[in-house]
C-alpha cells in the first residue's frame, strides 16, 4: 500500500513523524480512515482512540481532542494531548474515571458538569486503548 507522511504535533513538540499506510480517526461526523492521496481536508478530532498502520504494524493512541489537516504533502495531527498504549498509566486513568464519576453523581452546583464529563471521556478512552493491547 502507498505510504504518506504523518506528523503528530502537541504543545510539547513534535510527537511522531512517520510514514503510514492508513490513519484512522474519529471526527464529529464519525469514524474516518485516511489513505494516501486524500484530498485536502481539515476537521476536528474527538476525544477518542486513534490508530495508524506503519510497515504492517498497527499503533494505537488515546487522543484528548485535536485537529487533523490533510495537506498535499503531509498529514498533520495537532493534538492537545496524545498517548500511545504503552505510555498510558492505567491506574491513573482508573482513578481519574472514578473521580469524574463521583463528580457527575454529586449534585453539587459548583461542579463544572462539562469538564467532569470530558474528564470521564478521556479516562474511558485511555482505559479502552490500554485494554485492547
Amino acid at each position: 500500500m502507498k505510504d504518506f507522511k504523518l506528523e503528530i504535533v502537541t504543545p510539547k513538540g513534535i510527537y511522531r513523524k512517520v510514514d503510514v499506510e492508513i490513519l484512522n480517526i474519529r471526527t464529529p461526523l464519525g469514524q474516518m480512515g485516511i489513505l494516501a492521496d486524500h484530498i485536502p481536508l481539515a476537521t476536528p478530532i474527538e476525544i477518542s482512540q486513534m490508530d495508524y498502520m506503519s510497515q504492517g504494524q498497527r499503533y494505537t493512541f488515546a487522543i484528548a481532542g485535536g485537529f487533523v489537516y490533510v495537506g498535499q504533502e503531509e498529514t498533520r495531527v495537532i493534538a492537545n494531548a496524545i498517548e500511545s498504549s504503552d505510555e498510558i498509566d492505567e491506574q491513573r486513568a482508573l482513578k481519574a474515571k472514578e473521580r469524574a464519576e463521583q463528580r457527575l453523581k454529586s449534585k453539587n452546583e459548583e461542579i463544572d458538569f462539562m469538564r467532569a464529563q470530558l474528564a470521564l471521556k478521556r479516562a474511558l478512552v485511555r482505559i479502552q486503548v490500554k485494554e485492547r493491547v
Partner: protein, 285 residues
Amino acid sequence: MPGGMQEIKRRIKSVESTKKITKAMELVATSKLRKARNQLEQLKPYYQSVSETVAEILGHSESEVDNTYLTPHEEGKRVDLIVSSSLGLCGGYNANIFKCVASTVSKEDEIYAMGSKIASYLNRQGFEYHDEFIDLNQSLSFTEITKLVKQLVERYKNGEIREIRMIYTEFVNNLSFEAKVKTLLPIQHEDLEDFSQVQKETLFEPDAQTVLDYLIPMYLQSMILGYLVESLTSENASRRSSMENATDNASQLIDQLLLKYNQARQTAITNEISEIVAGSNSNES
C-alpha cells in the same frame, strides 16, 4: 589605623559572600534559560501548524465564514493579558513591562495579571485586575490556558469584548528583550501573511465555520502559551545578565577594597616605624 583596616576587611568579606550569591543565581538562571529556550523550540511546530491552518482557512474561504475573528468589534471591553515575573532581581525586565503598561493600558480595560510583580504594580497604580491566572507565568499550565481561552472566546463572540491584547516581553537574543503589545483577537492580517497561502480546494468537515470555531481557541492557546514561554525566556536571560554584571561588579569592588586595605596596612606600618624612629631619636638626644 587598625580600626579602619578592620572595617575594610569586614566589607571585603560581605562583598565576597554577595558575590557568591550572585554567581549562584547566575548559574541557576543560565540553566533555567536553557530549559525555557528548549521549550520555546519545542512549541514552535505546534504553533506553526495551528497558525498555518488558520491562515489557510481564513485565506481561502472568506466568503463562507462569518468573520467575527477578523473584523474589529465596535463595542465591548478591551482585555489585556499582562505577563511579568514573580521574582525580583532580574534587571529591567519588569520595569520595561511597567513602562509599556503605563503607556498603553487604560483604566477601563479589563486586565489579567500573570505574575505577582505586575499585580503589585497595578495595585499601586489603582488598576483593577483579575488574579485567577496569576501563577500562569510559572506554571505554564495548558489546562489553565484552555480555561482562560474558553472564557475569553465566549465573551468575545457575545460581543462583550472588542479586543484581546497580550503584553509580554519579546526575546530577541540573550542580551536584548523588548516589552511588546500584541493583539490576539481580532486576528491581524499581517500575522497570517507569513504563511504562503495555497489556494486549493480544501474540504472542511463538517463545515468551515465549525472547523474555524474549533481552531480559533487552539490558535489562541498556542499563542498565549508561546508568549508566556517567551516571556519566561526573557526573564531568565535578563536575570542571568544582570547577575553576571553584579558578579563582575563585586569582583571589581573586592579589588578596590583590597587595594585600600593594603594601603591602610602600609600606612599603619609606616606610622609605627616613624614613631619608633622618633622615639629612639628622642632617647639619643
